[in-house]
Subunit: 157 residues, 2 copies
């Protein structure tokens, strides 16, 4: 098991686009509750199965396994609830950290989020100038919730 | 993905005991609905993560992955609902098939089930004389349901 310590932000402007080439991600959820999620993801040519526990502050237990892409395709098609998440992920190294910018498509078109994974919850880090408001604790921005309540349908953004 | 084609029976008497040495299984469920289950299992020193789809007749889609036993222990302790299933599994080869006899403990003490996996739903096979009533379509005997409604609490058996 890993413990994921993550902070999440909105993104401003387009400056980040020149810093990385994105990779297409498709993902869905076999189950999603506040206590746990089971996620199926295809990133490039690789499938992943990921189990996450409840968020406690910025921390969350995470178990991730590589799986054959054919299995991931079949699970996305037959076992995942709601519309799939489609996004492009850009990995952008800044200082010692890797920022991940997710540009969403489909039902979440228009949403761009940036995440950074930390080694401890109180770790200091530099905020690039294209980083906007922090949304770490806003459940609407959880990918699992974006399948149920996609961004294009939010009454207030 | 594999497609699991399985038939399940009650067990009569003790004749089967001399045919195999059992292995201890502990398992729990991250989610269980009629449409899908996510199971964590420890069998001997190996962990398994298994996703199953809905049963259609005797058939069910199944995706199974080996995982580190430490991950399985952590998921059983923190992410699995209900009491765990504890059982001893005896594998008994008869003809071309392997029968699996599950002797349950804990909240399901007293229950003994036999399963056989087939290559096609209409495959003919020999029934050993210690095999009793078929329960393939009785949902109470699904292991996922035995965590919610354990055998010792059934009003009628």
């Amino acid at each position: 098991m890993a413990v994921e310590i993550e902070r999440k932000f909105l993104v401003r402007g387009d400056q980040w686009r020149s810093l990385s080439v994105g990779m297409v991600y498709r993902q869905g959820y076999i189950t999603t509750t506040p206590e746990k999620t089971v996620r199926v993801r295809i990133a490039g040519n690789q499938g992943y199965l990921t189990i996450k526990g409840a968020s406690v502050g910025y921390q969350r237990a995470e178990f991730e396994y590589l799986i054959p892409i054919e299995d991931a395709e079949q699970m996305l098609a037959s076992l995942c609830v709601g519309p799939l998440i489609e996004k492009k992920r850009y990995k952008i190294p800044i200082g010692d950290l890797i920022w991940e910018v997710d540009e969403f498509f489909g039902d979440n078109q228009g949403l761009i989020l940036a995440e950074v994974e930390l080694n401890s919850p109180d770790q200091a880090f530099e905020l690039p100038e294209w980083i906007g408001e922090e949304v770490s604790h806003d459940y609407r921005y959880y990918n699992a919730n974006l399948t149920k309540f996609p961004y294009t349908q939010w009454p207030i953004k």
